[in-house]
């Protein structure tokens, strides 16, 4: 017998009454009778709250609010990125910085500072934040629990342990990205196996994840305590999460991974929406639950693993970004892309704070997110009503 869990509905919408049924997005209308030119009449024909794009025999409904949220977040992302490019030891005006970064124009000094020094870091921040945001959104939807994110279920720690092992203890010659992926998959498999499946037992899943994460964290520390002091200093980044001097190869791999993973996640959008209901409802809506679950889990593990390979165990982004995205988009399709954008914005902001708050000293971005995100996580935990864990 299955007891309905409150967190499942908590994941469905940021606002609105808990447990309110969210209508799945209407599939795009098809057929010759409905084809019209894209224009005012077509918009009028679309259901409320959506745009309709039509071309030839195909048309696509674009929900209005998520689109606006996406545009807004993208604008904010560009603005924060410009500030990130311009702030530092050598100040560059934000517009000049953008020009140097995008067009490659400007004084040689600006070009050096922006393109050589700051751009890789901003790029890494955007990629890591986007991957974590998307992974968090997918995992929350999958488990029906808005606290289930790669960092709370031990995935980040698993990826870190394997990446550190690959670098320090057993130099394999493999990219840290590869070992981190294996670690993320191992941790996810362990947590799922030990807790008997996500979403079935509510918070139990999370505490099992906490335990698995603790073991992997201890393994990381064990490896680091064996390492020579120089290697251990280099490995400090792996214990907190930072964007300083990250491996360019890992960033490239992450970007490639995002390109591969995000489009399927977006296409899977309305099936993901059905996963927010119980399995029985999803099945009756025509969704094959198991393959979709497996695909979604795989995507989120890959995203989180590759992101950890770049920046180390960066917490809280995967928790906060989907939450922000849901607030912005409202009920409707699962906001994978919006979460990714929100994650990128949050990561860049946190890194900016870490770089400027105590300049010239730099606070790793992972510490900033932990200090700022901790109270938020506590608030989420303590204000969500739940039944007793079954």
């Amino acid at each position: 017998m299955k007891t309905p869990l409150e967190p499942r509905s908590g994941a469905s919408a940021g606002d609105g009454p808990a447990g309110a049924l969210v209508p799945p997005p209407v599939p795009p209308p098809r057929g010759p009778g409905r084809v019209r030119e894209a224009g005012t009449t077509a918009v009028d024909a679309a259901p409320p709250g959506t745009f309709r794009l039509a071309a030839g025999g195909l048309s696509l409904l674009v929900p209005r609010r998520p689109l606006l949220a996406g545009v807004l977040l993208a604008t904010v992302l560009v603005a924060v990125g410009a500030v990130g490019l311009s702030v530092g030891e050598i100040a560059v005006a934000p517009l000049d910085a953008l020009r140097a970064a995008v067009l490659g124009e400007g004084s040689p000094r600006d070009l050096l500072v922006v393109e050589e020094l700051r751009m890789p870091r901003v790029e890494a921040g955007i990629a890591v934040g986007a991957a974590l945001g998307a992974a968090g959104c997918l995992m929350q939807t999958l488990s029906g629990n808005r606290l289930a994110t790669p960092d709370t279920v031990g995935l980040n720690n698993g990826a870190t342990a394997f990446a550190v092992a690959g670098i320090v203890a057993v130099p394999t010659g493999l990219l840290p990205s590869a070992t981190a992926l294996v670690g993320a998959a191992t941790a996810a498999a362990l947590t799922l196996a030990l807790s008997g499946g996500a979403g079935q037992r509510g918070y139990r899943f999370l505490v099992v994840g906490l335990g698995v994460g603790a073991v992997f964290g201890a393994v990381t520390n064990l490896i680091l305590s064996r390492a020579e002091i120089d290697a251990a200093n280099a490995a400090f980044a792996w214990t907190v999460g930072t964007l300083n001097g990250r491996s360019q190869t890992a960033v490239t791999v992450l970007e490639a991974g995002l390109l591969v993973c995000l489009p399927p996640a977006v296409v899977l959008g309305h099936r993901l929406g059905a996963l927010r209901f119980s399995d029985a409802v999803a099945t009756s809506l025509g969704v094959r639950v198991r393959p979709v679950r497996a695909a979604v889990l795989l995507t989120s593990v890959v995203c989180a693993g590759l992101a950890v390979a770049v920046a180390g165990p960066l917490g809280m982004i995967a928790l906060a970004a989907p939450e922000a995205a849901r607030r912005l988009t409202g009920p409707g399709p699962v906001p994978v892309v919006t979460s990714a954008l929100a994650g990128a914005v949050l990561t860049l902001l946190a890194d900016l704070v870490g770089r400027t708050a105590m300049a010239p000293l730099e606070i790793p971005v992972g510490l900033v997110t932990a200090v700022v995100g901790g109270p938020y996580l506590l608030w989420l935990l303590l204000t969500t009503r739940t039944r007793r864990t079954p």
């Binding site: 918070y203 139990r204 335990g211 698995v212 520390n221 606070i363 506590l378 935990l381």
Partner: protein
């Protein structure tokens, strides 16, 4: 369970294990002095072997004593906190009590205090704050009914406070060098001075725990029944929290945050002698040292000639126990 059974099933085997582990702790180490030379020192026959004498008497003996004190404190604190929160997962490390204590110590050192003299008191204050926060959270709407959620809240609090400590250490390099190893939990290089500084705190905490245990077990019947039996629930809880704060604060001041001991020890003790709090405390006070010492001995041996931080070892032991407790179909109710 009769007293005789308690003795036979709980105290005797645990005492034997403790003695064995103490012997192992004195005989085994990461360095060159092997068991044979160490045994010669202990039996009084190694006057010429200054090296071995120094290692055993000046390094291993104080370290063993510190581990025993820390283990007893954490084991008892875990049992008392579990009874107070009526939650089998309530563990000082998991609920953020240790994190609060270590943050207070870091703050005190950054502000210029000395780790040995001021540390214990700052740690006790920090532990008290962490304890009150955790129990306060437990009493908030709904959260207290769910043992598992309290652990998550504690983990969130620990993570936050731990990151704040890291930021402080990043800013202050001197403090960072002073306590780099302390922040992961370790008994390496702790001497008699460190132990003497916290011993009064720990003894006071143990006394408070022993004094409050009968009343605390009546609270398990509910506040109304406890009041009817002549106890004052609020005061009992206050004493219990004070004792946990003293024990965890003292232990953290000397050994850093060591997690999971307060979970593993009462869990095992409950399996040995059942749920009665007084028996539980009696077994925990012996079992705690055994667990911490065992972890310490193993941490010396697995990565020779290096040593592994104690906190890492207890996490390796303890996290699987946490998973096992959570997985068991019915959480043991308290």
């Amino acid at each position: 369970m009769t007293l005789r059974k308690t003795l036979l099933r709980g105290l005797l085997p645990v005492s034997a294990v403790l003695l064995a582990v103490v012997a192992a702790s004195l005989l085994l180490g990461a360095g060159d002095v092997g068991p044979a030379r160490a045994a010669a020192v202990l039996l009084g026959g190694a006057d010429g072997d200054a090296d071995a004498r120094f290692t055993v008497l000046e390094l291993r003996l104080p370290r063993t004593a510190v581990a025993v004190a820390v283990g007893a404190a954490l084991g008892v604190a875990g049992a008392v906190l579990q009874a107070t929160a009526r939650n089998p997962l309530a563990e000082p490390g998991l609920l953020g009590v240790s994190a609060g204590a270590s943050f207070a110590v870091v703050l005190a050192i950054v502000l210029g205090a000395s780790a040995t003299t001021v540390g214990p008191y700052a740690a006790v204050l920090g532990a008290a704050a962490g304890c009150l926060l955790a129990l306060g959270a437990a009493r908030l709407r709904g959260a207290g009914d769910d043992p598992v959620r309290l652990v998550l809240a504690g983990a969130a609090f620990s993570g936050m406070v731990g990151a704040a400590s890291s930021v402080l250490l990043l800013v202050n390099q001197r403090a960072s060098d002073e306590i780099r190893f302390w922040t992961v939990g370790s008994v390496v290089g702790r001497g008699t001075d460190d132990l003497m500084a916290v011993l009064p705190v720990l003894l006071l905490g143990l006394a408070a725990a022993a004094a409050v245990s009968p009343a605390l077990s009546s609270l398990a019947l509910g506040d109304d029944v406890a009041t009817g039996l002549g106890h004052r629930p609020r005061r009992v809880r206050a004493v219990a929290v004070t004792s946990v704060a003293l024990l965890v604060g003292g232990a953290t001041a000397v050994a850093g945050p060591v997690a999971f001991v307060g979970l593993v020890v009462p869990f095992a003790a409950r399996a040995l002698v059942g749920p009665d709090l007084r028996r539980l405390l009696g077994v925990s006070v012996l079992l705690g040292p055994a667990v911490v010492l065992l972890a310490d001995v193993v941490s010396r041996l697995v990565v020779r000639p290096y040593e592994m931080p104690l906190g890492v070892m207890t996490a390796l032991f303890g996290a699987p126990v946490l998973v096992a407790v959570v997985r068991s179909s019915r959480l043991p109710s308290l």
